[in-house]
Subunit: 214 residues, 2 copies
């Protein structure tokens, strides 16, 4: 399972492309192991073994276990926000309303989780922890993702598509949570269902077609 494709972490040109490939293998190994067992329960030896490299290579490429993890986090959330933003923009370019944009983002979220379930698992598990080294990284990264949803909500309120009484930050968080948890449940407890199926159920909930609408 390919976890993520590298574009650029820093301004480094290519050339050292072999290194990038090694890093990639390490990310992939780490993300599944940490998702399954948690950060502390996962050993560097395990990560190296699963990636098929020597332990020394891990430390040649990353300063420490937690630095490896932080870079993993940053990268993964980068992919998610890019995907969300793209979905919202595409919907907008096509001239649909904000409701459709929201729906497109729900779908983009599901597609992401479908492709990178381990990353999602790990993200949820670590997000609300306090007292951890990467807490600040995580906070920034969360804000970026939620901000995309907030943006669409705010625009919708401005254009009158959404009710003015909605609480933008809280509603955005709730929406993200809804998709996250529903998708994780889908993957863990009823993996046979199709993405469209899950998307349809969430759309219905989102558009208030559950409780009838008054």
């Amino acid at each position: 399972m390919t976890i993520m494709t590298m574009d650029s972490t820093n301004g480094a040109p290519q050339g050292g492309s072999r290194r990038e490939a090694t890093r990639q293998k390490l990310y992939e190994a780490a993300v599944t192991l940490i998702a399954e067992q948690g950060f502390s329960a996962t050993t560097v030896d395990e990560i190296a073994e699963r990636a098929g490299v020597a332990k020394g290579t891990v430390y040649y490429n990353f300063a420490s276990k937690s630095v490896l993890f932080e870079e993993l986090l940053r990268h993964g959330v980068g992919l998610l926000t890019a995907s969300l933003r793209q979905a919202a923009e595409r919907s907008e370019r096509e001239g649909r309303g904000r409701v459709d944009a929201l729906d497109a983002m729900v779908r983009a979220g599901l597609v992401f989780i479908d492709r990178y379930p381990a990353f999602t698992q790990l993200y949820v598990a670590e997000l609300w922890r306090t007292n951890r080294a990467w807490q600040s990284t995580l906070l920034v990264v969360r804000q970026e993702a939620v901000a995309v949803v907030e943006g669409v909500l705010r625009e919708g309120v401005a254009t009158g598509e959404f009710s003015e009484e909605i609480d933008v930050p809280l509603t955005a968080a709730a929406l993200v949570g809804m998709v996250l948890v529903a998708a994780l449940d889908w993957k863990s407890f009823q993996p046979e269902r199709s993405l469209d199926d899950v998307h349809a159920a969430l759309s219905r909930l989102l558009q208030g077609r559950v409780s009838g609408c008054r």
Copy 2:
């Protein structure tokens, strides 16, 4: 913060009430520490220290670190389901509809999380992990909680209050997720808000008053 009150673990009479008090202290110490740091990163020494007992006492009262954790989980989720069920029943007894029952459960969920934030944090962080000893415990316990919501949804569909096209298990999971994540966000990122405030925002989302209703 009182985490939970004991009733009976086995058929033991009272008399050994001192033991119960110690267990209680250990639960409370463990729940916050594990919520903050995760299971593996939390040491038994830390738990003992925060509880104000010697390490040996932990092992006098629990077979192992993970048994302590499992009992903690079971107890906590027991409290949550009881509270959800009670909310649904109360609403039903008062002859309100299923929409109100759902709303009452959302509120009950928020009240629970407000009272036991650490437990909720810990629960979410561990729920989707695989390959862990307490995986089965967690699964059973999750099903119990979600089942309460599913029950109300199913009744609502039967009485025609909810659309027949809703996907009961998935919608139940999404609702639970929505409340869980919104509440954790509330506690972590905007703790100054009132419960009523958060409840109102979620109610609106639940009743489709966000996207206007068509």
